[in-house]
Symmetry: C2
Subunit: 180 residues, 2 copies
């Protein structure tokens, strides 16, 4: 069975996914009167489940909105002991090394995964486990915050698939890992 | 007299302008059989002179090529004492704080400047002195090296002007500083 790990994420021009105060307001700085989704829902159709880190899970829980995911969410954490009851049935905890975490998720029947959260993305990149990246660049230099990418002991080449501009100011590029 | 400070630079998908060994070979990783310039010469027509840092100057001097700039080059350095004689007439040293360095260059009749080199770009951004950025993204994660952007005490918003894709894999976006 073919599997894939995909990233869909917004970043500032200087590569941050959250500002120094963990703020995300800058993601919405370009007026979007018609609420276009910039490919998010079409992307979500291509995955079976979501794998995110603890920080991203806490961030989503902190939003004053309905639980936004229709697909199963796996939270990767070495410290979290249990998922709050209000999320039971929606969220499952996973622990351990990445290959065994992925194996566990695949064995549950979820093969194409949306990987979310800076640390989780970086962990998978470190083991060359990311197959696709859709990165949406907001025209701001934040000057600090949480980085999308981190230090890695190796280089990873990608093929550029497609780039489009939304709302005149937001540039979204799709990349696939170039292997072999 | 209107002045402007412009950046035209290549970076990796993770925001580096040189790899861990100061290598630049990855900038040419996408085959370019016809040697297209990706807008470089058209950009150079829009500037009067080049302001670069010491590291960039040393890098250019180290290339086994003819001196590549037809316009005057100013090298910003607090440590360099004199320009090697072979560059006399092509390169001038400038020292001091940025506003006075820029004033000196403007008084010589050069008003639109190509700002080159990571540290020099970062220094100007720190004082909100960059007006335009043309950034060309190569589809590779280097995992380390010299960063294009650095930490800043403030955010800077830009307007996205134009994005185009070269050689199917290289994404170039033009941004102008959004002021006021």
């Amino acid at each position: 069975m073919q599997t894939s790990n995909k990233v869909f994420i917004g970043r500032s021009l200087d590569g941050y996914i959250a500002d120094r105060n963990n703020g995300l307001a800058w993601l919405d700085m370009i007026p979007n009167p018609d609420g276009i989704d910039m490919g998010y829902y079409a992307f979500m159709e291509t995955v079976d489940a979501i794998l995110m880190g603890r920080v991203t899970f806490d961030t989503v829980c902190g939003f004053d909105i309905e639980w936004p995911f229709k697909k199963p969410v796996f939270v990767l954490s070495s410290t979290l002991n249990e998922i709050p009851e209000k999320y039971s049935g929606k969220v499952q905890m996973v622990k351990g090394d990445l290959p065994s975490v992925l194996k566990t998720i695949h064995e549950k029947g979820f093969h194409h995964l949306y990987i979310d959260g800076g640390k989780t993305i970086q962990s998978l990149l470190n083991e060359d486990l990311i197959d696709e990246i859709i990165v949406t660049t907001i025209p701001i230099l934040l000057g600090g915050g949480s980085s999308l990418f981190g230090a890695m002991p190796h280089e990873l080449q990608f093929d550029h698939v497609h780039t489009q501009v939304f709302l005149n100011h937001i540039v979204q590029s799709q990349y696939k890992r170039k292997r072999g």
